[in-house]
């Protein structure tokens, strides 16, 4: 399950921020390692909602620092 989410998230990261799918590993920090800025994080949240049906409000988004954080959030909130 979490592999599916990681792969889906990698697709979103590639589309939104041009991150190579191989780089989208759980330990990576969006801002520090992948050069994803705050507005791209919003785009990622929108695409996560479209793809997984999981909404990430702004206050939750602030707590998502790494790819792993995003995977955990999606896993926990997926219906």
């Amino acid at each position: 399950m979490s592999e599916d989410i990681q792969a889906g998230l990698a697709e979103i990261l590639e589309e939104v921020a041009g991150v190579a799918p191989a780089d989208a590993t759980p330990e990576k920090s969006f801002t520090e390692d992948l050069d994803v800025d705050s507005l791209s994080m919003v785009e990622i949240a929108t695409e996560v909602e479209n793809k997984f049906g999981v909404a990430i409000p702004d206050d939750e988004l602030a707590n998502i620092k790494t790819v792993g954080d995003a995977i955990s959030y999606i896993t926990a909130n997926r219906g």
Binding site: D37, V42, T46, D58, L61
Partner: protein, 321 residues
């Protein structure tokens, strides 16, 4: 009982001409990086702005509005005497009393028009356009001058790089008149007052913006507004020659452009790159620039969308004069 009689207006309204005023002083990103923690690369990647115009002391709201309004009157070929309504859209009046619509009208030689100010934040121009169109169609005015004028540099916090690099000054105007064939489509408008604090001047008297929240709202909620504006005007995305949303942030413009799926020939207004975010002035400034450069032509169909503090939003399909 005697019935109240109504006037008969024009079948439609259209824009007859645009005019703009850009303050003299150009402020580059390099100049800003000398006084705040930022640099050209950061600004260009976050908001897509290369330079903006900042008004000097003598470039007051009234002076800028008069300059833009005069140009719009000249472009439209409408004499000041034939204008019977003036709407001044601004969110940055130094003093709310008096409103400046009447003085701007007076300075332009427009005598005794219905004149007032309208504050719908960065949506002010599109809100004014709907009011003008309805006034002409109901017979309460034949020609309406709309001026969006802003001095956002009066209200920015020079140390807040999230806003100080974005907001700028200027004025943009349009003359609207009667038309047998409508040149302004039905408005798709509304407001989200639950997000009133997303863009506000609270306490400090300086403008603060929740960047992520506004970005999310603009790139998700407003797509439906743009689609509604086209559907109600009876056009599709393939009919749109010019897409000129409020010049808030180049990334919002690009995101909207991508989501709507315009054909390749559609010209996109990116005046923000050299003008910054001028709130209610941005759409007429952008359209005037596209006409001057030849990228937009008379007769083109444009899709416009104003959105901003309130939160407010309004979109229309227009015929370029």
């Amino acid at each position: 009982m005697t019935a109240i009689q109504l006037k008969t207006g024009a079948p439609g309204a259209r824009i007859l001409g645009f005019g703009g005023y850009r303050p003299r002083r150009r402020v580059t990103n390099d100049e800003l990086s000398q006084t705040m923690e930022t640099n050209d690369e950061w600004i260009q990647s976050r908001v897509g702005i290369a330079e903006r115009r900042w008004a000097s002391d003598d470039e007051t709201l009234v002076e800028m509005a008069v300059a833009a309004g005069g140009k719009a009157l000249a472009a439209s070929g409408v004499a000041p005497d034939d204008v019977d309504m003036v709407i001044l859209a601004s969110a940055t009046l130094e003093h709310p009393i008096p409103g400046i619509g009447p003085q701007v009208a007076h300075r332009l030689g427009i005598t005794r028009p219905g004149a007032f100010d309208l504050n719908a934040g960065c949506a002010g121009f599109c809100y004014s356009l709907e009011v003008a169109s309805n006034a002409i169609r109901s017979g309460s005015a034949r020609h309406v001058l709309i001026v969006g004028a802003e001095r956002l540099t009066d209200v920015i916090d020079q140390t807040d790089r999230a806003t100080a690099v974005i907001f700028a000054d200027g004025a943009g105007a349009a003359v609207v008149g009667p038309a047998d064939e409508p040149g302004i489509g039905p408005v798709a408008w509304g407001s989200d007052g639950d997000q009133s604090s997303a863009i506000e001047m609270a306490g400090t008297g300086r403008i603060a913006m929740a960047g992520q929240a506004v970005y999310r709202w603009a790139t998700t909620r407003l797509t439906a507004t743009l689609e509604q504006a086209m559907a109600e005007a009876g056009v599709t995305v393939d009919d749109i020659d010019v897409f000129a949303p409020h010049q808030a942030n180049l990334r919002i413009i690009e995101s909207m452009h991508k989501r709507l799926g315009f054909p390749e020939r559609t010209v996109v207004a990116r005046d923000i790159v050299r003008t910054g975010n001028t709130s209610a002035a941005s759409i007429p400034l952008a359209l005037e620039a596209l006409l001057e450069s030849g990228e937009a032509k008379s007769g083109d169909l444009a899709l416009v969308l104003g959105y901003g503090a309130g939160l407010t939003f309004a979109g229309q399909v227009l015929r370029i004069p």
